[in-house]
Symmetry: C2
Subunit: 154 residues, 2 copies
Amino acid sequence: MTQSLTLHKDLRQNHRKLTRARQAVLAIVTDAQRHLTPAEIYRKAKIKYPHLGLTTVYRTLDLLAELGYIQRVHAVEGCHSYAPTAQTHGHHLVCATCGRAEEFTDCDLESLIQSLQVRTGFEINVHMLELMGRCPDCRAPARARKRKTPRGKA
Amino acid sequence: MTQSLTLHKDLRQNHRKLTRARQAVLAIVTDAQRHLTPAEIYRKAKIKYPHLGLTTVYRTLDLLAELGYIQRVHAVEGCHSYAPTAQTHGHHLVCATCGRAEEFTDCDLESLIQSLQVRTGFEINVHMLELMGRCPDCRAPARARKRKTPRGKA
DNA sequence: GCGTAATTGAAAATCATTTTCATTTAGAAA
DNA sequence: TTTCTAAATGAAAATGATTTTCAATTACGC
Ligand SMILES: [Mn+2]
Ligand SMILES: [Mn+2]
Ligand SMILES: [Zn+2]
Ligand SMILES: [Zn+2]
């Protein structure tokens, strides 16, 4: 079943409608190879559906995240970009240089969470894990350049 | 050595000054039992040092985070609160109800990171991990009441 | 097709953060 | 001490992101 059809079903269950705006926004985030900010999503989706408004993009991102079709991405600098959800319970590995986001699902925090629950008395029910670094593409040129670059401060 | 003295030394090394504003902001974040937003920090610090300006709070939070005295906290809903740093490389366990933040240091992500590096070709150099739930104090009254809302998944 | 609740987009409002700039201050040097 | 100056400050304005409002439009169950 196509993603759009699944979405249609999910929406119907909540008395909500499948609109052109929603389809456009979902398509942009889903097809992106990187996490995108609301403004970026607006710009791209507007090409496919020029009537679209920014307000609707914000509302749609909230909705799609609630339904689990996309995920909010937090980074050390800069919050609230969005990336597609491949599976439930995914985390992101984000390239700090180009923004490319890779999803992974084997976060394996169970034993850490279990021991922290015991130690602190907290009940832990949500976790946020994000890894940042440089993707293979962005590493290559940097490695080549590194040799030539004279010493200096950042 | 007191924290304020350590800070004085750190600042001096960078040709920076220990000001009343900086002392006030650091004291508020350090003594807090919960993570605080810039606006909250401003309100509280202004009581101790009424001349303080909000602009300075923002600048000071950046500075103290850079120096490692405090840490930015991201949460699923709401970003950019600040909590004190107990040790370097700490993570936070935050109570979703009252905001109380517990720091922990044994995140133990090395093997996950190592295997992801191999699998994806990314070079991973930063990670963000935050756990959310309910602290012992906030659990007690909730447990007494009948729970109607199922907990969400991470 | 009709009726209606849900959705939309433009504009305005709100809220968080940053920039600007004239003034003040910390602290090193005299 | 007093002097000197780079660093820091705070008020106000500017910027940017997000939310609210509201009249008009649209999806879709009937
Ligand atoms: Mn996980
Ligand atoms: Mn964040
Ligand atoms: Zn990259
Ligand atoms: Zn609590």
